[in-house]
Structures are given as C-alpha cells and as structure tokens.
C-alpha cells in the first residue's frame, strides 16, 4: 500500500483593516522573494449583468484599463510594465478582479494606479467602441473560431439553470455588446465599483506599517460609496434529468459534460468541501476512479476532468454552483455509454466506499496543488481578496490543505450518493467537422 505523508500547511501572517470610506484591505507579508502582488476585487460579476447586456461585466473589465482620473489611455499598462511588472484582470460569475505582480520597489506605484481607477475610469465613446472590437476578437479566438469553444462553461449553464443570471452567456452576444453605451458603463461603475464593494489585497515583500500608510495615502480619499444590495441568485434544484446536444462545426470528435448542484459553498462549507474532494477522487490522475475506468480500461473517453464551479474557482464561487464532469471521446464515441459508466462508478463508490489509501493520496495531491498555487504572490493576493470579500476569512487560504485533509471517507461517499441521474444536466458536443 502507498505510504502517505502528513499534510503540511502554510502560515502566511495576515492583517486586515477597513478604511474610513469602507474599503476592506488584506495584507499578507512574506519576505522570501523581492516581489509583491496587488489585487483589487469588486463584488460584481457575470451574474449581476442586466438583461439585454450579456457580456457587460467583462466588457467593463476592459474599460477599467482605458485610462482614469490622472492617467491617459495606455498609461496604466506602461506604468506597470515600465516598473518591471505584469498585470491583468478577469471576470467571474461572482466577482471581477484586477491585479499586478511587480518587483517590491514598485508597490506604491501599483497602489496609485488601482486607487486612480477606483476613483473613476475614463469612460469615453472612443474607448468603448475600441474595446467592443477587442472583446469581439477575444470571443472569436476563444469561442467562434476554435473547436470546443466555450465548452462546457458557456454551454452547460443554459441546460442546467433556468434564470437569466445563472444561465446566460458571460462573454455576451455581439448584439448586446454593440448596443452597450457610455451611460450604461457610468451607471455600472456608480453602482458596483464602489469602494464599499471592493477588497484590496497585497501579498509579498513589504513592511506592514509602511504599506498601510501608502494605502491610506492613495485610497483614503476615494469617495465613500456603500456596496449595493446583492440579490440571491439561488434557484431550485433540477426535478428531472436535463439533456441537450449541439453541433460544433469545428470539432472533430464528440465530447460530453454533466453538472450536478452542490451545497452552498459559503453558507454550508462543511457540506460543500467533500464534493471538492470527490471531484479529485474521480478524476485526478491515472489512479483516479474515472480515468482508470473510462480512459484506461474501457477506452470510452480520451480524457476526463472533474471540478466545481464553471470557471474552476471552487473556493471563490457563491451559491448556486455545480460539480462538473467532462469527457472528450474517441471517434464514434458514445456519450450515453460514458454517462452510464459514470453512474455505475458513482453507485459503486456510494455502496462500496473507498479503497485503502485512496482518500489520503488524493488529499496529499490536493495539498500539493493548493500549496503550489500559494507560492506565487498573486496566488495569495487574489484568493485572499475574494475570501475576504465573500467570507470575511482570508486566512482560509492557509487552512485549506488541513481542511481538505480532514474530509472523511463517509463524507465523500455521502456526496457521491447525491449525484443521481435525475439531478444531472448534460450537454453533448456533436462533431461537425469532416472526419
């Protein structure tokens, strides 16, 4: 039997503070490398988009880079990169993030840049039209011009969910993007980009007292605006199996993805966490249940993946969300057969339990993944900002390897037992490319 190791954890010290204007701040100092990561997370994402404005949260993310109160268009990029750093932003279902990683001596510059756009981005007609074009190219390169584009993150939600916030296309339709106006953008900024709706976090090589003074200096005069009320996006679980298929004209081979609703990741974390472990038991590596069965033994799939959250951000998503399994199939592959086998393996897990060592080794590998991510300053700054925003608990990042290690076999088995066919939503890719 495999030897197992005790699961270690990280002990990054964490300081939290709130400025007078309501901006929450998380600081995680670590002097092991002369670099800093800065993240600002706003509590607005794809699920908050108004009807008729699909893709707007993401389009707005682009506009936040187009100049601000004291900065011309292009200045943000030049100042970050001219300080030796890198930047980006990304739009998720429940939040939008902006981040920089830089040599430690550039910390104050990054804080200045983030504060300036928190006070007000330059929302002009010219910038809006330019970024609508850029976003259309982004959609072409990631969805329209590529096989399996948007599978399954854009394709499964409309099968699984029934309300606009949860089911609509987060990249947006060209029609909606083109009809966006500067007034829409101003309203979106006023409502959601309030400092009371944001979290700033800094991780890496800095002195806490000095960084706190810099943060006061740059963010202290951002006008106070409270967070808007956040709607509950919950909707009822499926009452029967749902299934759809679509033809992908570029795809040469079939593929299939299924999702099942899981417990509230924040309101019921203890019930939720076993599903995160279950996904790995099923799909992490050649020794996992479904890879061994579907890929190695039956050869009914060429690869299998399992994870929670449509964007794979299992600790940064709110309710409702789902556990996903996706598989790419060989030529002529049969999605029904794959689904039947998945059901069979879930039944087996639920009735016979885990094999000796199976849980411990899965937890050890999960710990490696968690620890590895936190080695990068942004791998701390970003999740800590979201954990503060959604849970008020950035220190959860330090605790995750241990908490994952404490999930029991009984909990994983019980989770597997809930993944019934009648609670499942499935989307199938029918290959449309000539073989």
């Amino acid at each position: 039997m495999a030897r197992t190791l005790k699961i270690p954890a990280t002990k990054y010290p964490i300081e939290r503070l709130t400025l007078d204007n309501g901006l929450r701040v998380v600081l995680a100092p670590d002097r092991s490398a002369p670099v800093v990561g800065v993240a600002v997370v706003y509590d607005v994402g794809i699920r908050s988009e108004p009807q008729g404005r699909t893709g707007f949260a993401h389009l707005f993310e682009h506009l936040m880079f187009q100049g601000s109160e004291n900065l011309e268009k292009l200045a943000h990029f030049r100042h970050v990169q001219g300080a030796g750093g890198s930047f980006n932003g990304s739009t998720h279902l429940d939040y939008t993030d902006y981040f920089e990683v830089l040599p430690a001596g550039a910390l104050e510059r990054a804080l200045f840049l983030e504060a300036d756009r928190m006070r007000g981005p330059r929302l002009t007609e010219e910038n809006l039209r330019n970024q609508v074009d850029v976003v259309k190219e982004e959609i072409r390169v990631n969805v329209l011009n590529r096989p399996y584009g948007g599978f399954p993150w854009l394709k499964l939600p409309p099968v699984m969910f029934s309300t606009f916030p949860n089911e609509h296309d987060g990249y947006g339709s060209f029609e909606d993007l083109e009809s966006a106006t500067v007034a829409d953008a101003q309203e979106f900024f006023q409502r959601y980009y309030a400092c009371g709706n944001a979290v700033l976090s800094v991780a890496g090589d800095f002195d806490v007292a000095k960084a706190t003074a810099m943060i006061e200096r740059h963010f202290g005069d951002v006008p106070a605006r409270p967070a808007p009320p956040r709607p509950d996006f919950d909707e009822p679980d499926l009452s029967g199996e749902r299934r759809e298929a679509y033809t992908d004209r570029l795809a040469p081979l079939p593929a299939v993805a299924s999702g099942w609703r899981v417990p509230d990741p924040i309101g019921d974390f203890a019930a939720y966490l076993p599903y995160v472990v279950l996904a790995e038991v099923l799909t992490d590596g050649d020794a996992s249940r479904l890879v061994e069965r579907l890929v190695q033994r039956d050869r009914t799939a060429t690869n299998v993946g399992g994870y929670i959250g449509f964007m794979g951000d299992e600790y940064q998503v709110r309710n409702p969300t789902a556990m996903l399994l996706q598989a790419h199939l060989p030529p002529g592959g049969d999605a029904d057969k794959v689904l039947r086998t998945v059901d069979e393996e879930l039944d087996r897990l639920a009735s016979e339990g885990l094999r000796p060592g199976e849980l411990a080794r899965t937890q050890a590998r999960m710990a490696t993944h968690l620890l590895r991510d936190t080695d990068a300053v942004l791998g701390r700054a970003l999740p800590m900002a979201v954990l503060e925003q959604q849970r008020g608990r950035p220190e959860l990042l330090n605790e995750l390897p241990r908490l994952v290690g404490q999930v029991t076999e009984a909990q994983v088995v019980a989770a597997a037992a809930t993944l019934r066919p009648e609670r499942r939503a499935t989307v199938e890719v029918v290959p449309g490319a000539a073989q």
């Binding site: 495999a2 030897r3 190791l5 699961i7 270690p8 990280t10 490398a33 002369p34 670099v35 292009l74 990029f77 990169q81 001219g82 300080a83 030796g84 890198s86 930047f87 990683v101 040599p103 430690a104 550039a106 910390l107 104050e108 510059r109 200045f112 039209r129 330019n130 609508v132 074009d133 850029v134 976003v135 190219e137 982004e138 072409r140 390169v141 329209l144 011009n145 096989p147 004209r249 040469p252 081979l253 590596g285 050649d286 020794a287 061994e292 890929v295 190695q296 050869r299 060429t302 790419h328 060989p330 060592g357 080794r361 050890a364 490696t368 620890l371 590895r372 936190t374 080695d375 990068a376």
Partner: protein, 439 residues
C-alpha cells in the same frame, strides 16, 4: 481636483541568487539542486537529449513513459506518486525529452525512486501502449482542427524546409504504426543519463537532495547517443504563404524573423528591440493593432530558442475583414523599428520590464525550476540571470537600433497567414506577393 503624481519606484535590491549545489554523477547525469523553501514542496525537471529521434515513436514514448515498469502498473505508479502529493508527466520538444513534476517536500525520495523505476525498468505494456496510442491519435486530430496549431505547423514548414525542426507533430497514421517493441528499443537507445540534467527546486537541502538523487538514479546507466542537430538554415523570405481554412472568422497571422542564441552579444539589445516592437503589451505593435484599431485580442511576439537555432516569432489572430490592414500595420511597425532608433523613455520602459520579469520569473519554486532546467539544456546556469541583467542594463539606444535594423527588417520576414483564403487573398496580395496552399 488636484492632479496626483505617480509615486517613484524604490530601487531594486541587488539580484540575489538562491542557495544551490551541482554534481555530475558517474553515469553522466548532472543534478542541480536549488533551495527555495517558501512552501513545503519540491519541483522536479529532467531533460534528456532527444535530438534526431524518430518523431512518431518519440512522441508516443513521451505519452507512454509512465504506463508501467517491471514491478508497477500505470495505476500503481500514479497512486504511489499521489501518496506523496506527487505527480510526473513527460513531454517532448525537438531537442529534449522532458519530465516535469512536483511533490510534497517529504516525498522527494519516493518520487525519485519511482522516476528511477520508470527510467531503468520500463515495460511499455501492450494494452497500455495501445490506449496511449489511440489517445495520442485523437489529440493530434483535435490539434489539427485548432487554428493556432495549423498556423504553427505551416510556419515551421516554411521556416525550416527539410531541417528536422520543420515537423514537430507526427501524423496520426505514423503514430498508429508504432509498436511497443519500438518504444522499448528507442528507450534503451535514447533514454540515457549521459548529458541529461535533473533540476530539483524547493524546500530542500541542496547537498542532501543531490545525495538522494544519486542514491535513486545512480543505477541508471547506459551510453549517451549523439543527438546533435545541424544548425537551422537561414530564413528565406519569399511570398506570403496563405493557408486556406474556409469559413474562418479570423485569420492567424504569423511571421518568423532571425534571432540569436542567449549567449550572443546581440541577444540583450535584440530582446529590447523586440519588446519595443511587439514583445509586451506596452509595445508599439500591440498599442497600434489592439488599443488603437481593435483588430485583435492577444497579439504577441517572442524569441524562441532551440538548440540548433533561434527565431523571433510574431503572432496575432485578427478578424477576417481586417486581415490586410493588420498585415499593413505589422509591416509598418517592423519598418519603423528597423529604420529609426527607439525613444529614450520607450527604451528605458522596455529595459525595466525585461529586468523586472527576470526577477518575477525566479520568485517561485516552479519558475526557478523552469528557468534552471531550460538554461541547463543550453549549457547555462542560474548566474546567467546576473550576466543577462547586466547586458540588458548596459545596452545603448544605438545598439538596439543597430540590432533592430539587422534582425527586424520586414524584408527579412517569413510570413504565413491561415484563414478564409477567398476572403483575404486579394487584400493581402495588394501588400505583398501571395502563394496559396491548403491548410
């Protein structure tokens, strides 16, 4: 409201290289161990010289390397690695077989033992190889439907002609013909310690980590095989090659330009010239075709180094209807960098970016392991970071301009466009001679 001023940058501290040790074992394997203890993990990188290996067999070997040993099945290998938080995977480039992985720090010895088993006692069981063969064929088939892959394939052929680098992905038919016995023979012939490099980075004591590697891998023996590949031929500019992909809603624009190895005196100024032209977001080309004109989402240029040669690659996916104008702007920006010296501030900004990203790249275990392993396969060590930083700091505006005129001139470019040929041929032909082919 009063205007606010940008805060100054605090000067960077001296570049500090981490604690490390190196030893070449009796079997010819060089082991480099580097300490970065921020998280309790280790990163593992093994590069084995693999130049001139038959492509289909070598590719399948890399996919099937972990399918079994004399004493362990593929599932046992995966489970035993997982038990120490570990995972290993293999890949192939035109010069090397590369094994990449990581584990909890306490699992280093066990990970090395399992790696040793795979290297010294491979089984390539018929069933498992058959599974991996079919998967590889499927993966290649999917890759061949990806525009980025097709454009890359067309560009490599156009750049390298009959040189071995011209084809880097085998055809499905070639893979279907590979038998397990051929993998065993190739493994016995080429998966050898002589000339290979093992890099270990993480929460470790460098000397003790090398001892552990010596204990586990000392028994991996066998003569090295000369895999030297002839230097790549010079690029031959000619008509733009237009590869047809009917129905494409975007065109994939690719160019290759000459470049030099990392150790060449032109390397640092050329890197700076590339940055000013198109090598980072704040470059002229990206600001032009994305932020001014909205033709594209993620244009990028980079200098690629292989053992037998280097090249500067320009890549953008642009909307079908602006394919001609996007090529025009690209040629314009290449002409501008090749004809006029960069601005002082523009060069300083590129220089600070180049120096900063070197520091960012070495700030994680995985980043350090990747850098150290990549440098080692070119005969370099981490102190190259210091030398290259000094060269970047010293490069003058005149040097950058001079190098740009010699390497970045549009007349030197080899150009390939993959897209809907019926729609883009005429606009492209208005700018340059065009030769059509099927994708």
């Amino acid at each position: 409201m009063s205007a606010k001023t940008l805060p100054d940058l605090m000067p960077d501290a001296q570049l500090k290289l981490p604690r490390q040790a190196e030893r070449t074992l009796d079997n010819g394997l060089t082991v480099i161990a580097i300490r970065r203890a921020a998280v309790p993990l280790v990163e593992v990188r093994l590069r084995v010289p693999f130049g001139r290996a038959p492509l289909a067999r070598a590719t399948l070997l890399s996919q099937a390397l972990f399918t079994g040993t004399g004493t362990m099945s593929s599932v046992e290998i995966a489970a035993e690695l997982q038990a120490v938080g570990g995972g290993l995977a293999a890949g192939l480039d035109p010069d090397r077989l590369l094994v990449t992985g990581n584990a909890l720090a306490g699992g280093l010895e066990r990970t090395l033992e399992i790696l040793a088993g795979v290297l010294t006692d491979p089984a390539y069981p018929a069933e498992e190889v058959a599974t991996e063969r079919e998967r590889l064929v499927d993966h290649i088939q999917v890759a061949q439907s990806q525009p980025a892959h097709l454009a890359r394939t067309a560009l490599l052929k156009r750049m390298y002609g009959r040189h071995p680098y011209a084809v880097q992905t085998p055809e499905p038919e070639q893979v279907r013909g590979v038998r397990p016995a051929q993998l065993r023979a190739l493994h016995a012939d080429r998966v050898r310690p002589d000339g290979a490099t093992l890099v270990l980075v993480g929460d470790l004591n460098p000397e003790k980590a090398i001892d552990a590697a010596e204990k586990a891998l000392g028994g991996w023996i066998g003569p090295g095989r000369d895999g030297t590949i002839a230097a790549v031929p010079p690029l031959e500019p000619g008509p733009l090659l237009l590869a047809d992909r009917p129905g494409s809603v975007q065109s994939s624009l690719r160019m290759a330009l000459p470049a030099v190895p990392r150790t060449h005196p032109d390397s640092a100024p050329l890197q700076l010239a590339n940055l000013v032209f198109g090598g980072y977001f704040s470059s002229r080309w990206v600001e032009n075709i994305r932020e001014d004109k909205g033709y594209t989402y993620g244009p990028h240029t980079s200098i690629e180094h292989f053992v037998a040669g280097s090249a500067l690659i320009v890549a953008a996916e642009v909307a079908t209807e602006v394919t001609g104008p996007a090529l025009l702007e690209t040629l314009y920006e290449l002409g501008r960098i090749a004809s006029l010296p960069p601005g002082e501030e523009e060069l300083e900004q590129a220089r600070r970016y180049a120096l900063g990203t070197l520091r960012l790249g070495m700030s994680t275990q995985a980043g350090l392991a990747g850098l150290a392993s990549m440098y080692a396969s070119f005969g370099l060590r981490l102190d190259y970071l210091r030398e290259h930083s000094a060269a970047l700091a010293a490069a003058t505006r005149e040097q950058v301009a001079e190098v740009a005129s010699r390497y970045l001139a549009p007349s030197l470019a080899v150009t390939v466009v993959l897209g809907d040929a019926d729609k883009v041929a005429a606009p492209l032909a208005a700018l340059t001679p065009v030769e059509r082919s099927d994708a």
